[in-house]
Amino acid sequence: MYVLVGVDGTDASLTALEQALERAREAGDDLTVAVLVDADAAGDSLASTVRSTVDDSSVDASVTDVNGTPASSLVELADREGYDRLVIAGGRRSPLGKINLDSFTEFVLLNATTSVTLIR
C-alpha cells in the first residue's frame, strides 16, 4: 500500500510515525513521511528527528518537507499524489485521559478524499 504519514512534531505524531514504520516493515508498505515544517516551532530539529527515526528503522521510507498550513498542505499532497492511505496521530489525551481531536485532526478527517488512519 502507498502510505503517507504526517508528522508535526507532537509526541503523538512521532508515535504515529513509529507505528507506520513498524507496519511498513511487516506489510511492505511504500511509505512516505511528510514533515510538517510550519508546525515545528523548533525549525530544523523535527526534520532531523524524523530522518534519524527512519534511518534507525531500516525501512526504506522517503522523507519530504511540507511547507504551508500543515493540515491543508498534507491533505493536498495525499490527494494529489494518489496515496492509498493517510496516517496521522489520533488526538491528544487531556489530563484525565479524554481524547480530544484538535483542529488539525478535524481538518484532515473532513477534507481528505484519501482514507485516513488515526493512530492511538
Binding site: R93, S94, P95, L96, G97, K98, I99, N100, L101, D102, S103, T105, E106
Partner: protein, 181 residues
C-alpha cells in the same frame, strides 16, 4: 488547549459532601469524598460500566487500563466524590489538575462525571456534580473546565444548570468552564 475563556464571576457556593438524598426513583443515595479505600469499589463500577456511556475514550475498557486510570484519579492532587446506593458505587465525579495551583492562582482542573446506566435520569448526576464543586471550593480550586461532545444534550444541560458556560466553541468537542472562587 488554548483560548479557554472563564466567566468573570464566581459561581454560587455548592454544598460539600457528605450528604444523602432520595433520588427520583426513591433510592437513598449517599455522596462522599472518595479516598484510596474506595479504589476496589470504583474498579467494580467501571468494570460494569455500559460501553455506550463511554465518552472520548474514558473510562478505559481493559481491566488493567481501568486500574491505572483510577489510580491516577485517586492521587492526592485530584478531587473525587462518589455516589453510593448502599455499598455499591453508582456514580463518580473527579477534578484533575491541568495547571497546578500556585500562591496567586487556584489552578485549572479538568472535570468528568460518570453515572451507572441504570442510575441515570434520576437526579444523581446533578447532585454529584454540585457535591464535587462544593468539595472543590473547600479545597480552594479556582477554575474548572471540561469537554463534552456537542450532540450530548443531557450532559450539556446538566453542566449549564450548575453554571458552566461555553469556554471555547472552536474545538471539535465543546469546551465549558466555571469559576469557583
Amino acid at each position: 488547549m488554548t483560548g479557554r475563556a472563564y466567566p468573570d464571576e464566581a459561581a454560587a457556593d455548592f454544598e460539600a459532601p457528605p450528604s444523602s438524598f432520595e433520588d427520583q426513583e426513591g433510592r437513598q443515595i449517599d455522596l462522599a469524598v472518595a479516598t484510596g479505600a474506595d479504589y476496589e469499589d470504583l474498579v467494580e463500577m467501571y468494570q460494569a460500566f455500559d460501553p455506550e456511556d463511554r465518552a472520548q475514550g474514558v473510562p478505559p475498557v481493559r481491566d488493567e487500563a481501568i486500574r491505572d486510570w483510577i489510580e491516577t484519579l485517586l492521587s492526592d492532587e485530584c478531587v473525587n466524590v462518589v455516589a453510593r446506593d448502599g455499598a455499591v458505587v453508582v456514580g463518580h465525579a473527579t477534578l484533575v489538575p491541568d495547571t497546578p495551583p500556585t500562591e496567586d492562582d487556584g489552578g485549572d482542573y479538568e472535570l468528568a462525571i460518570f453515572v451507572q446506566h441504570e442510575y441515570q435520569g434520576a437526579g444523581i448526576g446533578t447532585a454529584l456534580l454540585k457535591a464535587l464543586l462544593g468539595r472543590g471550593q473547600d479545597e480552594d480550586v479556582e477554575k474548572v473546565w471540561l469537554t463534552v461532545e456537542r450532540w450530548n444534550e443531557p450532559a450539556l444541560a446538566l453542566y449549564r444548570s450548575v453554571g458552566f458556560v461555553t469556554a471555547n466553541a472552536e474545538t471539535f468537542e465543546m469546551e465549558m468552564a466555571i469559576r469557583l472562587h
